[in-house]
């Protein structure tokens, strides 16, 4: 064909198209004598009619669609392998399950990039991979073969079933024994590799598979260079790659300094990466964050926050994370030695209490929660948290108390204490809060100004109980004396009262003239107030918790491994008539396993919830200590008949703590937060609040507030339970301040519908790190949240800001309407929302001043995008055309001071204009004044 011919064809084509279809043929017969040309025009017209979308999808999408077809290779044969199916997102990435037809076994086939520069290079890499295949070790995924053929290279590996550590991290926190165990297994693998001179180069949670039996298998040894595209690290990696894919970013946090600086890693780099993994298992975060945006040197010079990690583990991890390889463990073998000895220590300490089945104490960390007793007045709500380790010599971490007063508009206050916060009591008129642990200190917090006064005690502290007449009784958890403290004078009464043994739990009767004491080795006693007479109620040993109902009728005492005078027996619960102190009933026995924990009584006294044992009778942790297996049983006792009317069984990890919401419902917390109908055991409402879970839960007596604690992040969320119309109030706000200028913000919104459903929408659970004052990075966790009738999920993504203030968002899920949107700070200091490179930017009128914090939010409603600065709408505009799904109604509200100022999908990005010092965070966040980040 010639260009002239083409021109003719073009003309004819256009002319023919302009005619109605039935006239086209005639026209062409007439106008186009050349048969070839005519046929071509006809073919073109047909092509146009049939497939006018031809080439309308850009090539890059075509290419990825084609290669992403999951079923693409199934059923194919390559060499002597028959491909069965894609293994998908399981342990091994883009790998296929195949059948080895020669050896009749299942294998995993991984196809690797064919884009290797030269043949020599490729051969060298294959040689490397083959050398790695020679590592024969139970913790290494075995490589059977490296196959080549027909332009394709593939690796045949052992097929391992299981989840990756990355998947498990999303499910929940790890416990110390499990973490150490993982460390041992990976270090063993590294040790074997080191013996063969192999460096892994890419140790990260995605490359560690945990089998069902808890065995760790390390994936992709020696294949890092082969599988991944070459990372060219020229200075600022982000600039080179622009919108980097999650894959590349996923590796970076685990890379050693020398790798990041472009040097060749050695086996000590693998130890570094293992250190990062262990750190993440212990704390949920990676230790180094700023690496993308500051000179690499600086990142690793910063000391690592231990985040409350077990000290032995912290020591080991810190050594792995040293910037200079010379300062790390010199070999995997050395690391192994330390890990093994830590393992022994930890296992012994952690499970030493197994015989007594003291569940809460078998954990290395104990998060103690105390709900205030009878007097919860003046609209104040209290919750207490502390992290402490029992049974060890370790110095205890200080505790914190979070106070939230509804009368003050919902701000949370955090009060730090010098000692642990294990026990709580409030004064009768609600003006003072008493906090103690088992040290010789008592803290008194005045509710009026949140001032803290610490009083030294002559004896070790313990459980607290306040009598109606205003005397605070302080039991001792170590000694056999009780102290009495006058609430008004704030002084100790003269003489300690001897009570014969340390006290585990206490409760007053209604009149306040009798105090019942649970004493581990001495049974149940009653102390008469005033005369200080002691009466032994029962000898049964190991009472663990007791509770009197609000009506003053019954006393419930839970025992662990009890029996009269020390003989072995089952856990039971004794029910006493409180007025006559006669034993009415004993509940429990071989058929109804109990675990001695404090009974929970409904506000009207009619139902009592008793803690049952796990189905297998022990606090069960699976092999790697990830979470409990087995289930958690609660027994519902009818107070009138004193019979267990129902036993409710829940998944172990969803039901670690319980509190009555009202007479017929209780809140169950663990990894999920649920409202349960007490009579039927059915879930009324079920919410998951993120992978770390919030536990345990405690509801205030007036049923107005619920308290949730995060196991990992020492904070409390306090929520208003509001019976009014569903209008979520942005009042759930808590802060955690580890002390190095970083903070975590958890923002949630609450509401209760008229039907009694509790709705909770957590905002971003994230962590922001200040870098050089102009940028920060935050990470989020995967969670699945339910809001009303909408289900939406957020997948983990990384946001980062560059030094010029630009932020990129990527890896959004389909539900998120913010794909391709960016929030920027322009050169003149205004905030700019830009969507895609084409749409006009939305600019704020506020010009950011240095040293000032701004809260910038972008919302997308159905017909517009809006930009808010500090809660004030500054600009709005139409969303860009095309890809965003239309919303037919806003999803939730936000506002200031209870008034909605915006509605819709909310995505907040908070801009910090410079880094703050500790003092500033203290002042701005933890003082009574409004912090800058309030909604």
């Amino acid at each position: 064909m010639t260009p002239d011919q083409f021109r003719r064809i073009e003309q004819l084509y256009e002319q023919a198209l302009n005619l109605p279809p039935d006239q086209r043929k005639a026209f062409l017969d007439d106008a186009c004598p050349n048969e070839t040309e005519r046929e071509r025009v006809i073919a073109m017209i047909e092509a146009h009619e049939r497939d006018s979308g031809f080439l309308s999808v850009p090539a890059i999408l075509v290419a990825t669609q084609v290669s992403a077809n999951p079923a693409s290779r199934a059923g194919e044969r390559i060499s002597h392998y028959k491909i069965l199916r894609r293994l998908g997102k399981g342990g091994m990435g883009e790998v296929y399950l195949a059948e080895d037809t020669k050896l009749d076994r299942h294998v995993a086939l991984k196809f690797i990039s064919t884009d290797i520069p030269s043949n020599d290079e490729r051969k060298r890499l294959i040689r490397e991979a083959k050398a790695a295949a020679a590592i024969n070790h139970p913790n290494v995924v075995a490589i059977h073969e490296i196959g080549e053929g027909r332009g394709v290279t593939f690796i045949v590996m052992e097929y391992v079933e299981g989840k990756t550590v990355a998947d498990k991290l999303l499910e929940g926190p790890f416990e110390v024994p499990g973490i150490v165990d993982i460390g041992i297994q990976v270090a063993s693998a590294l040790d074997a590799a080191q013996a063969k001179g192999i460096v892994h180069r890419d140790i990260k949670p995605r490359n560690l598979i945990i089998t069902r039996r808890g065995q760790i298998k390390v994936l992709d040894f020696g294949l890092a260079k082969f599988i991944r595209p070459e990372l060219h690290l020229h200075g600022d990696l982000m600039q080179t790659t622009g919108t980097s894919p999650g894959q590349m970013l996923g590796t970076l946090p685990y890379m050693s300094p020398e790798q990041l600086m472009g040097r060749n890693p050695d086996h000590r780099s693998d130890l570094f990466s293992l250190g990062v993994v262990l750190y993440q298992l212990a704390t949920g975060r990676v230790p180094f964050h700023g690496m993308l945006l500051e000179p690499i040197d600086q990142t690793f010079d910063r000391p690592i926050d231990s985040m409350g990690m077990q000290p032995g583990l912290h020591e080991i991890v810190s050594k792995c994370l040293q910037k200079e390889p010379e300062h790390r463990y010199s070999s995997a073998g050395d690391l192994l030695v330390d890990l093994k000895s830590l393992h022994e220590q930890v296992v012994r300490g952690a499970f030493g209490g197994l015989q007594k089945r003291k569940r809460s104490r078998s954990l290395p960390y104990v998060l103690q929660w105390t709900l205030l007793g009878a007097s919860l007045l003046a609209g104040a709500a209290f919750a207490v948290t502390s992290l402490w380790k029992p049974d060890t010599e370790e110095p205890r971490r200080a505790g914190q108390v979070f106070v939230r007063s509804t009368s003050e508009g919902g701000q949370m206050r955090r009060i730090a204490l010098n000692h642990g916060a294990a026990h709580l009591a409030v004064s009768p008129n609600g003006d003072k809060l008493f906090v103690s642990d088992d040290r010789r200190e008592l803290s008194i917090i005045k509710m009026a100004d949140y001032s803290v006064k610490t009083v030294a005690l002559p004896r070790n502290g313990g459980p607290l109980a306040v009598s109606p007449t205003g005397q605070l009784y302080i039991g001792s958890s170590r000694e056999s004396y009780m102290l009495v403290f006058d609430v008004n004078d704030e002084r100790l009464r003269d003489k300690p009262i001897p009570v014969g043994a340390p006290v585990v739990d206490m409760a007053f009767n209604l009149e306040g003239d009798r105090l019942y004491l649970a004493q581990s080795n001495a049974g149940l006693k009653r102390l008469s107030i005033g005369t200080n007479d002691l009466k032994q109620i029962t000898d049964r040993v190991c009472p663990e918790g007791l509770e009197a109902d609000a009506q003053g009728m019954r006393l419930y005492v839970a025992y662990q491994c009890s029996g009269p005078s020390g003989s072995p027996g089952h856990d039971v619960v004794e029910i006493y008539d409180l007025k006559t102190e006669t034993l009415l009933d004993t509940v429990g026995g071989p058929a109804i396993p109990m675990v001695g924990q404090k009974p929970r009584i409904a506000p009207d006294g009619r139902l009592v919830m008793l803690d049952g044992a796990d189905a297998c009778g022990l606090p069960a942790y699976d092999h790697v200590g990830c979470k409990r297996v087995g289930s958690h049983v609660y027994h519902l006792l009818d107070a009138t008949t004193r019979r267990i009317i129902r036993s409710l069984e829940y998944e172990g990890n969803e039901a670690t703590s319980l509190a009555f919401l009202d007479s017929s419902r209780f809140l169950l917390s663990g990894d999920t937060l649920s409202v349960v109908d007490a009579n039927t055991g059915q879930f009324v409402e079920r919410l998951t609040v993120g992978p770390e879970g919030l536990r345990p839960v405690v509801v205030s007596r007036d049923r107005k507030r619920a308290f949730f604690g995060s196991v990992r992040k020492q904070f409390v969320l306090v929520f208003e339970l509001d019976d009014s119309e569903c209008s979520p109030k942005p009042e759930g706000l808590a802060l955690f301040y580890p002390g190095d200028g970083t903070f975590t913000e958890v923002v949630g919104q609450w509401g209760m519908t008229p039907h009694g459903k509790i709705q909770f929408v957590p905002g971003r659970v994230g962590q922001a790190f200040f870098l050089d004052g102009n940028s920060f990075m935050s990470t989020d966790w995967t969670g699945r949240y339910q809001f009303g009738v909408h289900d939406f999920s957020v997948t983990a993504y990384v946001r980062f800001a560059r030094t010029d203030g630009e932020m990129d968002l990527f890896n959004w899920t389909a539900e998120n309407p913010f794909r391709g949107m960016r929030l920027l700070k322009s050169a003149d200091g205004s905030f700019v929302v830009q969507s895609g490179p084409n749409a006009g930017p939305l600019k704020s009128t506020t010009i950011a001043k240095p040293g000032v914090w701004y809260h910038v939010a972008v919302t997308r409603m159905e017909r517009e995008i809006a930009l808010y600065v500090n809660g004030v709408l500054e600009n709005s505009g139409p969303p860009p055309e095309g890809r965003y799904p239309a919303l037919d109604r806003p999803l939730f509200f936000g506002g200031r001071d209870g008034k909605p100022t915006f509605q819709g999908w909310l995505d907040e990005m908070t801009f910090y204009n410079r880094s703050l010092t500790q003092q500033e965070v203290q002042d701005q966040y933890l003082s009574r004044e409004q912090g800058p980040c309030r909604l």
């Binding site: 260009p3 090539a59 890059i60």
Partner: protein, 181 residues
């Protein structure tokens, strides 16, 4: 990866602007390995779940790449053209290599559909079209390989959007009919 002197890039860009069409090819060759890597990253399966914005890929990443190498370069339109050309080469090369193992690529149908266009055949047809009507082949390269919109393509080529649309229409039909044979 050899460092590309910034002056070289500028020189080639000027040359291309002055009418030296070879210069564009040379320029593409210089930065190809970078973009090859980038394209490869985007072709990893994990990425495929998320909607890609080809324009973002091309202009954003490539421009950044260029700016990093050559901070004084401002000629965005030039970059966009080069980027599309490179993307074409990278994708087609990749397809050629995959085509080599016919068995494993039986899912790529030889007949063209919206999604399953055989890039290798298309590339050949496009080369033919270039001989017949250069501007149309450029439009296809920009729109299909570069992923640019009608407006952007018009800006790059300095023609009206109407012209782009008409040419695109014809080119589509011609290519389709060519590939069907």
């Amino acid at each position: 990866m050899p460092e590309v002197p910034p002056e070289e890039i500028t020189r080639l860009l000027h040359a291309w602007n002055d009418g030296d069409s070879q210069a564009l090819d040379k320029l593409a060759a210089l930065v190809e390995s970078d973009l090859r890597r980038l394209a490869q990253i985007f072709m990893q399966k994990e990425r495929a779940e998320h909607t890609l914005q080809p324009t973002a890929l091309m202009s954003e990443t490539f421009i950044r790449l260029m700016q990093w190498k050559n901070p004084n370069c401002e000629n965005r339109v030039h970059f966009m053209r080069v980027a599309a050309a490179i993307m074409r080469r990278v994708l087609v090369d990749h397809a050629r290599r995959r085509d080599a193992s016919a068995e494993l690529n039986s899912h790529i149908k030889p007949t063209t559909t919206e999604r399953g266009a055989n890039l290798v055949a298309l590339d050949d047809a496009l080369k033919q079209l270039a001989e017949l009507d250069r501007r149309k082949s450029e439009i296809v390269e920009l729109r299909f390989f570069g992923g640019y919109s009608v407006a952007e393509t018009a800006e790059i080529l300095g023609i009206s959007p109407m012209t782009v649309k008409r040419d695109w229409n014809v080119a589509q039909a011609w290519l389709r009919s060519e590939l069907d044979e």
